[in-house]
């Protein structure tokens, strides 16, 4: 299947950037593509950059949470980076439970968080 959105690989970390207007079908294909790639590459961490998304409704929020859960099951960590202020306020008001998502402001902070998560994981092993 052809790639919908390019997935970058930086060492053991995958990076995917979601941008613009995403319809439901595209979101689901991205979910499928990403989880497959995490499994295939055994990446230890995934950064999902949503700084290009101006609207995150309950559907997208649920899918993101699901992706993070899937990636965790695959023994990896997912960090959502770049949630915009307006989107953050809206998601909180919308009431979508996103409590267990790892988030960071940008890719730099996201990488640092991934490192900490990996280290914590190592320490607790």
């Amino acid at each position: 299947m052809t790639e919908i959105i390019p997935i970058l690989r930086i060492g053991e970390t995958l990076l995917i950037s979601l941008q613009g207007e995403l319809d439901d079908a595209t979101v689901l294909r991205i979910e499928e593509q990403l989880t497959r790639e995490v499994a295939r590459t055994c990446a230890t961490g995934t950064l999902i950059d949503v700084s290009g998304l101006t609207i995150v409704d309950s559907f997208i929020a649920r899918v993101l949470t699901r992706i993070a859960g899937m990636i965790r099951l695959l023994g990896s960590h997912a960090v959502i980076v770049g949630i915009q202020p307006a989107v953050a306020i809206t998601l909180v008001e919308l009431g979508v439970p996103m409590g267990h998502l790892n988030t960071a402001l940008n890719a730099e902070q996201g990488m640092a968080l991934l490192r900490r998560l990996r280290d914590d994981g190592d320490r607790s092993d």
Binding site: I83, P85, A88, I89, L101, L105, L113, D119
Partner: protein, 406 residues
Amino acid sequence: MTAAPVGEPDPRVRLRELETLLEAFAGHALFRLDLDGRVAGWTPMAERLLGYRADEALGRPVAFLYTEEDRAARSPASDLAAARESGRTEVEGWRVRKDGSRFMANMVFAPIRGERGEVTGLAVAVRDVTGRLHAEAMFRGLLETAPDGVVIVGPDGRIRIVNRQAEALFGYEREELIGKPIEVLIPERFRDRHDAYRRDYARAPRIRPMGIGLELYGRRRDGSEFPVEISLGPLETDQGTLVTAVIRDVTEHREQEQRLQRQRDEIMELSTPVIQVWDKVLALPIIGTLDSLRAARLTEGLLQKIADDQAEIIILDISGVPTIDTQVAQHLLKTVQAATLMGAESILSGVRPETAQAMVHLGIDFGRLRSRSTLRDALRLALRILADRAGAAQAATGMLRGEQGR
């Protein structure tokens, strides 16, 4: 003069009766002209209106009632000719009384026909309409001196009258507008609807602002638009109900509104400052009560600052909040949740034991939110968290270097 056959009414008496009736009901002064245009019959009302007695008027050409200018322009002759040719003729013009005073007359010429249908003379009905002229002049005076643009529209939707201000507002000469549909002054995208609005107004015309809730725009001659406020009023005339539109350019007013709004925003912002207390650490001292609007602004300001400064930790100081009720707690909670989504960790400071108790009682779950009683303690905690993170990062790079060194 032949005497009337016995038993039939004298035609002259009959005519006089009719004349009296007409004068009484139509308010016109009547007199008669012969075929040459000379006065052939006179009435008391004609005497009253024009000042001439019957013996002074009889036999004189009708021109004696006209002004010198009109006589020089041969108006009497042309009025007579028109009456003879086309039948009933109505003219308006200045006429002169015996004492030399002028008045605006409405004169109707009607041919008198004999038994065989031939024209035997002209009946003339005269009415003083100077009063109406004054009213019109006053009206025009008012229109021209009005500070706002005035456009008067007929029942057919076409422009009848335009004042000077309207010319200036829209950039037209009035001759260019008279007779045109009012829609030429409206931006194209609103024209369709306007027709329906006009009909609605015609059904129930009254003095009221136009388009409550609508944003109105006028369209100038050069195509440019400007915001307007319009007041409508019905004008009853003998030509039907006209609609008067008083138009005001409110461009400045709108700009002022916007300026005021921006000022208000700035004041709001100044009263809720977000302080960068350290690299990557922001503090928001919340002072006073939190209503929804203020809370929303606080949160938005804070989140924007997190993005701008790339902050990792925010300290929410509530020592200045008198009472923590459900509403305040909810606002705080939402702020913390939103900051968390942006990857920032939150610390609550200024939490006194009573506050802590109140929050527990409210049953609001603040999750892993840490709190300290003073801002200083909160800052110390923040710095420790950052140091731990930096240490972890160093350890990671150190490990890598160590491995590479082997």
